[in-house]
Amino acid sequence: MICLDDVSLSYKGRSGEVTALAHTSLTVKQGEFAAVVGPSGCGKSTLMKLVTGLIRPTAGAVFVEGKPVKGPVKIAGMAFQNANLLPWRSVLDNVLLPLEIVPPHRGRFRREKDFYRARALDLLGVVGLRDFAGRYPWEMSGGMQQRASLCRALIHEPALLMLDEPFAALDAFTREELWVVLRDLWQRLGFTVVLVTHDLREAAFLADTVHVMSARPGRIVETRVVDFLRPRPLEVCYEPAFTDLVHELRGKIAEVRQA
């Protein structure tokens, strides 16, 4: 699905050349849930932009679905730490936004609005927001906004979901709730996920594979397969094997921060 082959990226910063990524290689299989963790400023977000084609690598090549990435990939849904909903649109209309842009929906959108609305309402139902479809984003809590943001990222049934610390701004309880929401959405729809996070428990709970990045210039220093049985209940987080995994990941990151 995704393949980064010896990718480097540098750009001109205020104080000369900055290398955000150096010789990074990464493979994510179709339908896989991959998490990327690392110390702050290690180029995790840069990685996301490279995969979606928003920026081009300085060296190396990025492939998505077997094709080299030359521009925005158009098959990706994205969600960020900030929900970024449009305040002049209701939740439902926010969720419908991608359908007004992505072909072939954009051509059909006006004619088949009822069909798309029903679809959006179904999706909102999955994340528990069906009754809030008519509300405006600023009438909702941060967790609810983030749920809506996830729906917006998934409404056009993208093959790839890119998440950049989507739950970082939420409180611990809401975050765990949304882990479960994301887990269920993923198991139901079967898309490929790349989750960038600095929350190791989040990565260990959700992902099939966890990639650890080094400090800037970033590159993947370790890849761990997480093989807890699915579907995973939240209780997994309190098992010794889980704690050990988080502990090891933490050790690895402490190590790369020192280096």
Binding site: L54, V73, G77, N82, N84, P87, Y136
Partner: protein
């Protein structure tokens, strides 16, 4: 309908202002030629109600026409300027320079070109009021959240898509803020032009009254301008509530 204290305060303040003015004039025996008391001003307004009304109307329509030109031109230029960084950088200094020119200095040129009449007033109103509209529309576009842009670009949205779906709607509060400033500026422009050279308008009336030493009428003219300005401002404040109400409510966000 219940009347809240908030609705009464503007009226109360206006009344108090006039009473204080009247009181000061009487207490200090201020010559009506220096500062006429409100009673004298209102008396003049009542006496000359027809010329006041007629000239107010002229000022109003020249202002509104100039303002409409400014809105059309300002929005267009604002969209162009906000569209790309290169245009923004290139045009901005030129516009700042242009805006720094006192418009009073331009009026004689306009009169030379178009003769005495309404056209210089319309053009001065236009020239003085388009700048805040351009700046605000461009700012609204330029401050679109980069992450939101990424979301849309990753969907394959073109620049035009991003403008239509995000850029333009999010400029609405900026635009209406600018319109409220611009309409009052447009009045200033029209009146400045009328005082320099015109056959009609409140500015013209005030110059005439001044040269006849009719100070109460001069002040009545000022009062008429203030009333017109307030009415137009209120109109746009109302439109703002209607069209960009989400911006007000969004700032009182319930999130948390």
């Amino acid at each position: 309908m219940k009347i809240a204290a908030e609705d009464v305060t503007p009226v109360a303040f206006t009344v108090i202002l006039f009473l204080a003015w009247e009181g000061a004039c009487r207490l200090f025996h201020i010559d009506a030629f220096i500062l006429p008391a409100p009673s004298a001003v209102f008396a003049a307004a009542a006496h000359y109600w027809w010329p006041l009304l007629k000239n107010s109307f002229v000022t109003l329509w020249t202002t509104v026409v100039g303002f409409i030109l400014a809105v059309v031109f300002g929005i267009t230029l604002g969209l162009v300027v906000g569209w790309s960084r290169a245009i923004y950088r290139g045009l901005y200094p030129v516009m700042i320079g242009f805006n720094s020119i006192p418009k009073v200095a331009v009026v004689p040129i306009l009169i030379m070109w178009f003769g005495i009449g309404e056209i210089p007033a319309i053009l001065t109103a236009f020239l003085i009021s388009f700048f805040p509209i351009v700046v605000n529309v461009a700012t609204g576009l330029a401050t679109t959240e980069p992450e939101l842009e990424d979301v849309l670009r990753a969907l394959g949205a073109s620049k035009l898509d991003i403008m239509r779906k995000v850029g333009i709607p999010r400029t609405a509060p900026y635009l209406f803020g600018a319109l409220k400033v611009a309409i009052t500026l447009a009045f200033v422009g029209a009146v400045v032009s009328e005082t320099i050279g015109a056959n009609a308008g409140v500015g013209h009336l005030m110059v005439q009254a001044g040269s006849n030493f009719q100070m109460p009428l001069v002040f009545a003219g000022l009062l008429a301008l203030a009333v017109e300005g307030i009415l137009m401002y209120a109109l746009f404040a109302l439109l703002e509530r209607r069209m960009a109400g989400w911006a007000f409510r969004a700032s009182m966000s319930a999130a948390g």
